[in-house]
Symmetry: C2
Subunit: 466 residues, 2 copies
């Protein structure tokens, strides 16, 4: 099947504009080449529909997502300092002198330097003005974003935002608190053995300068007092030393033997990621980046195509034994609706090589003579189709078809997911999420059955995974 779009001389870039291919920079081309190596390593054909533009998309997203290397804080802050009189010394603090100013709940994302995956953060920034200087409020967000758009570690990110604002505004002090969320590293082996894989690594870091230089300072009490009622509670003992090892799950020692072997067996993939780091202007030999290529390859290999097919075949062979009907096929009226809700999944978007994750809800009519399907079997089906390069629409259909092939008919599948590509690329829609539906058999003709199943899905299921 041919690609649906024409016009191969032009390629789409993030903002919906067109870019002539001849304008591509060498760094972009180098990243594209590296992504092709990675796709091959995953057992994929990078010329197949769906993957054709993936190398360019990944290159654009990575370069855009690390644009902070080229931005200067001075350019952002300098034009946005306003003289604002404050209270007289000795009387109190407010306005341009000593009255704390806080911007809370800034949604940002950054790239983890340990594994090259994006991570999400809520940023809270405060400063105490001095010298009758206040800064435009949006600049606090813009400055934070300059440092977020680099390969980062949470504590360094907090320190860099704090230091840059301190030098840019020259206030009495700056306070920064970051709530960071890093996707966990699932892998096929562990999720099949252990259904309770943790979804997220959370870490809270802080950084302070000037009147916030000492974590026992009164200024911190005021800052935390105002953050408290935004759902943030900070341990007063939190200092920049409290996070002294990498938070990234890729650097944990629990890397399985199978994963290690997979990485070792694919040196060309590791070299490709190192080349991406160079193309982003980083030094792959920098201490914190030495292991990054193998961490990223380890993550990617969860979604290896061939491994998945093999396992699925092995799995499918065993199913028929489990499901022998203990009698004749029941009539339609003899069936009961069953449902299994909130089966968590992880997958990798084939358009952007970025994770998407969420929950799957499966509803089905089952003849009375057969026990309903076990949760672990359905979970296995979900994981088998999740752990490959995917799109949500196909994932939904494949799960429905497989469940249907087992039960011979009436199946409905709803997938609710958050897509990393919706926050870490141009549109940055942090609150959005996606739902897809597949309906087979009776569900495709019976609106009442669909409505009954939809009503059984609890509210706000996507937020449960956070």
């Amino acid at each position: 099947m041919g690609s649906l779009d024409e016009g191969h001389l032009c390629v789409e870039i993030e903002n919906g504009m067109k870019l002539d291919v001849s304008e591509k920079e060498p760094e972009t081309i180098a990243i594209e080449d590296a992504v092709k190596v990675l796709l091959q390593g995953l057992g994929e054909d990078f010329n197949r529909d769906g993957l054709k533009k993936t190398p360019l998309r990944v290159a654009k997203a990575l370069r855009e997502g690390t644009r902070g290397y080229k931005q200067k804080v001075k350019d952002i802050v300098q034009g946005a300092l306003f003289p604002e009189v404050g209270l007289h010394d000795g009387v109190g603090h407010a306005g341009g002198v000593g009255g704390l100013v806080i911007v809370r709940d800034l949604d940002l994302f950054s790239y983890c330097e340990s594994c090259l995956l994006p991570f999400q953060l809520k940023c809270h920034v405060g400063y105490v003005p001095s010298g009758q200087r206040v800064v435009g409020l949006s600049k606090l967000s813009r400055v934070a974003d300059v440092f977020a758009k680099r390969l980062q570690d949470p504590q360094r990110l907090a320190d860099e935002i704090c230091s840059a604002l301190h030098h840019g505004i020259r206030p009495a002090g700056v306070a920064v608190i970051l709530e960071c969320l890093h996707i966990h590293f699932p892998n096929v082996e562990s999720v099949l053995l252990d259904s309770k894989h943790q979804g997220w690594v959370k870490v809270l870091v802080s950084s302070g300068s000037g009147v916030f230089g000492n974590e026992n300072a009164d200024a911190w009490s005021d800052f935390l007092g105002l953050l408290k009622f935004r759902g943030v509670t900070v341990d007063r003992t939190l200092t920049r030393d409290s996070v002294n090892h990498s938070w990234c799950p890729s650097s944990s020692s629990s890397m399985s033997k199978i994963s290690s072997e997979l990485v070792a067996a694919n040196p060309e993939m590791v070299a490709a990621v190192a080349s991406i780091l160079r193309s982003l202007g980083e030094d792959p030999l920098r201490k914190e980046l030495v292991e990054t290529p193998s961490h990223f390859v380890r993550w990617l290999m969860n979604f290896e195509n061939t491994k998945l097919e093999m396992k699925l075949n092995g799995f499918a062979c065993g199913i028929s034994d489990l499901l022998k009907p203990n009698g004749e096929i029941s009539s339609r009226n003899n069936k009961q609706m069953h449902s299994e809700l909130n089966l968590s999944f992880w997958s990798q978007c084939e358009h952007h090589l970025l994770p998407f994750y969420g929950v799957v809800h499966i509803g089905y009519f089952c003849p009375k003579g057969i026990n309903h399907l076990g949760k672990s079997l359905l979970r296995s089906i979900v994981h088998f189709y999740g752990f490959k390069l995917q799109v949500q629409e196909r994932l939904t259909r494949q799960i429905a078809e497989t469940v249907s092939s087992i039960l011979g008919g009436d199946v409905m599948v709803v997938v609710e997911a958050n897509h990393t590509c919706m926050i870490s690329r141009g549109i940055e829609k942090f609150g959005s999420n996606t739902a897809t539906i597949a309906v087979l058999g009776r569900f495709s003709t019976d609106p009442a059955a669909r409505a009954m199943f939809l009503q059984s899905i609890p509210d706000d299921t996507t937020s449960q995974i956070l």
Copy 2:
């Protein structure tokens, strides 16, 4: 006092980059000139610090915020259609055939064509694929944004998004639901008379094509079934005819006589807004835009400088009578802490001519011999300082100073606000909000008193105003 920033040859634009003034387009210059007329009409000196760059900021923000006029949906969608097989006809719906795909909770903003103020919206888009075509998920958001970034009315916006996606994807049908929030039009007269001014006008609109063409279609049930648990409840009777009058509070008939006179007395301001509409590429004679200039001027005149000073003086004269201590001044230990929480306010950011709004919390120590200040008095003080061109830091200080001048001392003021400029300009940080503190007298030296007051402020006060 001189401006703190140097380099007048360069001006800052939204993304933190610099732009040479000589590159300014004639439309930008025309809007700048119009904004200067508006500032003069407000009794302001557009050369004062804080306002110097306001004309350029407003021009840049308005042109950026209406960039949708120049964008083409075809450019966005065409490169992002992917072939994706679906279920066989007759078996069911999923994948590229008939399986509903929904993207929920997209945060967007648009400009109200009736008053030129930005309004916020949550957009939910769904489509039923056909012809084995699916579209990249982010494109649903990008297409919606093309039409949001124009002067709009909610129903037309929904219809345009729906129609554009239908023609771009050629699916079996498209459904769009928008939850729109429009700032209310407060005015000095009404808020002083009536403390309960409504903060927001909310409206929910929908639009459907193809299988969603009939509001009783089964496809709508599925779509609404999936939206239900995202907090959206849609009346099934909702159709495009149900919102048959403008939702904008500026077009309501309750415009006060004083407001009408103010608008009539400032024809040069009305002409300036009409010129802005022309510079954005709109026709000020288009039916829906004919009244827009006077609506916008009416909004702006709430923040007229001279009117405010006059009223404040009149108000201040009356205070001393209210506050005669009925005995000698009490000693410090004889004072009790009082607080007044969640006093709502509206103000206008002088950097962007955009509303900011939220709540003020006031704490003070009051001699035992004096009754604590009445809520209505404090509310009046808040409104007096809110209804002018402001920055939040100054608003906080002015309220504190005024309360202090009445009580002679120990005052703490916390202002929590949402700034329209944080969502309707480049950074688009929908979830963020800002807090500022002013402390006088005992509060500036006693951390325990500050902590006690901060703890008395309830959680999540900013969301109460929505």
